[in-house]
């Protein structure tokens, strides 16, 4: 095994760009920030951050596709490429919605931490070895804990940060415990070797424990029931852009890293849910999480009167559908689940962006705070309709095709000969329930009259562009999903 550091450097170009970018953002602010107002500092920091993201996107393309790198520590395949681009775009949209919208006392630090989180996401997309996986997840998570608690003027933000940190720390412990058991059993930390060893060892009680630990950690990260409890409070209390990042880029990267860990790494211990009878493995565990999340998310969302909590429950429901996609990824490939996660991220970033702008103009917590948005800002109402209808899965928006592709991939893999097929039917039924609460949002935004004294809302130019790009991407990807799926066929 030859270890080429040049190769490693090339593979890590995006992370390098992001970390350097974070340092430049901090350094520039340190050098020139004293003379400027907070809004100016935020604009400069955002501009530098976007430049770093652009460099990361370029680095992703320059690193290209080339298989395992540095003795199997990283892998550069189409999934890595697509995921890195996806998280960079999602982080970029989140950043672009900051200037003129977010009230931050330390703008440069905020932007720098967003960049560091993004470098964690891009590393998650490429990781192929237990240590790197853990490192990447922790890099991303620690950044997100800080972002969630960033708004020191609000106790809710501190509560969100603490809650997210405690739950996340617990899940990291579970993950590490699971990994150590895997290493103990197989003597390897890179996924191809682990896969080989597991195929030889077969199922054992110890392996089941390791799998349960890993799935638990996965459940925490993905906000899947019954490990979802942090999500509503964090989404509600954290700065809006932090919630957006947690719900979008973080979810996409997490889903990809776990899909890679579960299928290529632990595929031999998957068990069976596509056909009867069920065979023990991680598939049945994931199937249970999927069902629980869809039930709890969709039914919980019905009772919400707070927009952000509603979006949190919607995220839990979507996590369930995404886990369905993970089940099918063994036979259908990661295409449907990637498409779903990426387009879900776009819609969520957009929806949170609208919430942030409305919040800036007054307050945006309760559904009623959106009332009459069509009068206060026709543009925001229009794009919000696109984001929410995409979340609800209405064609021709991307959310519809994501849902359809995931359901189709599960039914194609097992039809109704096993629990997975029936799970899909349950998911389809619950998607009809979901339309109700999404329409409640749109009813306020598009039908209800504005409250007394509600003023028109101006959208800052960068946020305007970011929302426009998100909405256009949702429409275009919905109309032409084939190029994205083509990457994985």
């Amino acid at each position: 095994m030859t270890l080429s550091y040049a190769e490693l450097f090339r593979a890590l170009l995006p992370e390098t760009a992001l970390v350097l970018g974070a340092l430049v953002v901090l350094g520039f602010d340190l050098a020139t920030g004293r003379a400027r107002t907070g809004a100016q500092r935020l604009r400069v920091a955002t501009g530098l951050g976007l430049a770093a993201l652009l460099a990361a996107a370029y680095g992703t393309l320059a690193a290209g596709v080339g298989g395992s790198v540095f003795g199997g520590v990283l892998i550069l395949d189409n999934l890595t490429l697509a995921t890195r681009l996806g998280v960079v775009v999602l982080a970029g949209l989140t950043l672009a919605m900051l200037p003129g919208v977010a009230r931050l006392r330390h703008p440069a630090e905020y932007v720098a931490i967003v960049l560091l989180a993004t470098s964690g996401f891009t590393l998650m997309a490429a990781a192929q070895q237990l240590l790197v996986i853990f490192l990447a997840i922790e890099l991303a998570s620690l950044s997100l804990y800080i972002l969630a608690g960033f708004d020191k003027s609000k106790p809710e933000s501190a509560e969100a940060g603490l809650k997210y940190f405690l739950f996340g720390g617990m899940s990291a412990a579970f993950l590490l415990f699971g990994f150590s058991l895997l290493y103990g059993m197989t003597g390897a930390i890179d996924l191809p070797h682990i896969a080989m060893q597991i195929s030889l060892l077969g199922m054992s009680p110890l392996l089941v424990i390791a799998l349960a630990m890993i799935i638990t950690a996965f459940g925490f990260k993905a906000a899947a029931a019954p490990f979802h409890l942090w999500a509503p409070d964090v989404y509600q209390g954290a700065p809006v852009s932090a919630s957006a990042l947690i719900a979008s880029a973080s979810k996409l990267a997490g889903l990809v890293v776990f899909t890679r860990l579960l299928w290529p790494g632990l595929g031999f211990s998957a068990g069976r849910v596509m056909e009867w009878p069920i065979v023990v493995g991680w598939l049945p565990l994931v199937a249970v999480l999927a069902l629980a999340s869809m039930l709890l998310g969709n039914i919980g969302a019905l009772a919400q009167s707070n927009v952000r909590r509603l979006l949190a429950y919607s995220a839990i429901a979507h996590a369930g559908a995404l886990l369905l996609g993970v089940l099918a990824a063994g036979r259908a490939g990661p295409g449907p689940v990637f498409y779903y996660a990426a387009t879900y991220g776009l819609a969520t970033v957009g929806a949170f962006g609208v919430v942030a702008i409305v919040d800036r103009a007054g307050r945006c917590q309760d559904l009623g705070d959106l009332a009459g948005l069509f009068r206060r800002s026709p543009f925001l109402a229009g794009v919000l309709a696109i984001f929410v209808l995409s979340l609800a899965g209405i064609p021709p928006l991307a959310g519809f095709f994501g849902k359809f592709a995931v359901f189709a991939s599960v039914l194609k893999a097992g039809s109704l000969n096993g629990p997975a097929g029936w799970l899909t039917f349950a998911a389809i039924a619950l998607s009809a329930v979901a339309l109700y609460y999404y329409l409640l949002i749109l009813k306020q935004a598009l039908v209800a009259k504005p409250a007394e004294g509600a003023t028109p809302i101006a959208t800052p130019l960068p946020a305007f562009l970011a929302l426009l790009v998100s909405a256009l991407l949702i429409v275009l990807l919905g109309l032409f999903p084939a190029p994205v799926l083509e990457l994985f066929s």
């Binding site: 069509f374 359809f404 189709a408 194609k412 039809s415 389809i428 039924a429 009809a432 339309l435």
Partner: protein
Amino acid sequence: MNALPFTLYVSFAGAVLALAAGARSAQAARIVALGTALTTFALALWAATDFVPAAGLQTLVNAEWIPQLGVRYHLAADGISMTLVVLTGLAAVVGVLFSWNIEHRTGEFFALYLALIGGVFGVFLSADGFVLFVFYEIAIVPKYFLIANWGSTNREYGAMKLVLYSFAGSALVMAGMIWAWAAAGGGNFGLAELAAAAGGFSRLEQLGMFALLFTGFAVLAGMFPFHTWAPTGHVAAPTAASMLLAGVVMKLGAYGCLRVAMVTFPAGLEYFAPVIAWLAIIGIVYAGLVALVQEDFKFVIGYSSVSHMGFVLLGLAAANPVAVSGAVLQMFSHGVIAGLLFAVVGRMVYERTHTRKLDDLRSMPLHRLLPFAAVAFVIAGLASMGMPGFSGFPAELTILIGTWKTSPLWALVAATGVLIAAAFTLRAIQVSFFGKTDGWAGPLGPPSSERPEAARPAVVPSPHAHDLTPITWPEKAGAILLIAAMVYVGLNPDSLLDWIRPALESPLMRAALTGGAS
């Protein structure tokens, strides 16, 4: 023929234009909408001129769309699609004419309206299951906003109920469609290909898929007991939306039942036909009886729509070429008749008197105040009762004759529905337009000279009857168009049946429509 796909492109483009025009002025949005609707209607008629009726679907566009799932953008038409596309074009034009007085958020109204129309055109022209489903769902969401924003009585409730019912139905369709696609190997969503593969499925699978697809579509067709969204939705909707709902959207459901569920799974149809037929008959009779006792004028029409759609479902369940051709004719006929009924009730009467209570209307001699509305309603009512000379007569007669071939009992019980329809329609005509005239004090109450203080409690001027403006030109034009269509088809039903019958001769249709022939 090749003009047909442009009906839907023009509709969607018109929706965007109407939104843009609405930002300038309401009048601009109206003109854009009318222009768009007229263009689609003209395209449909133009396509009809060089349409050669033949067995089977004639492909219009067939391009690769999502190869990973085997989805092709495949549009095609046969005589059934052609009939319904012409109906949709007509309904689109008339709906715009009857929404001419929308002043509030006009651009958005017409944008949603045209998006709905585009979805409807798309469903009628799809030859690929995925494409059909996409257009089907596109047609659902605009209804919510049309009703919730511009509707009347209990509009938010009516809108939500209607959309959730529709969406629940479409979830069943989605489940059935994906299941069938997966069972066929997951390589092709074409309706013909699915039908070809369906013969190889196990019997249980065929029955299950048929039940999901048929029930899902039948929700939108207003099949008993899934019809309850229809009256509340129709009543809450603004005039143009209730015209479209009853006129074309309910047809989407019936069309899906025929084109997707029945053609793909003949075995399912054979097994479930008696259940469907009896549910249809219950719908005809029950909804008719309910219509008989309604106190709200619009509810009478709403329930009458459910009753008339029961005939469509009965014709489909009878599953022979005569009954099904009657069912398609009834789709057209009911589309035109229900459109006019809702136009008179919702636009001509309600927006002038501000009441739909039959008790209130009884006290106004509307036949003198709104003679045009009275004439239009009498004509629509006669057509709805099945008076010869109007389109309702050949349609329901053909259905009953066809049904008799399959089961005389069904036909006999359903025929009572015709009597009930006569009863509730005559009651509505009598009470609403020809109520008692004595004691009514004129639109402004009795002249002051004839109003002694003591007599005042005896003659109470109606609080509603103060702005009975004359019927406007768009209303007259719309009503005349609809009356012309129902008379033309009534006198010359072969104009449509000549399109419909060959479509039922295709091998797929033949395999499905064997009921009563054996």
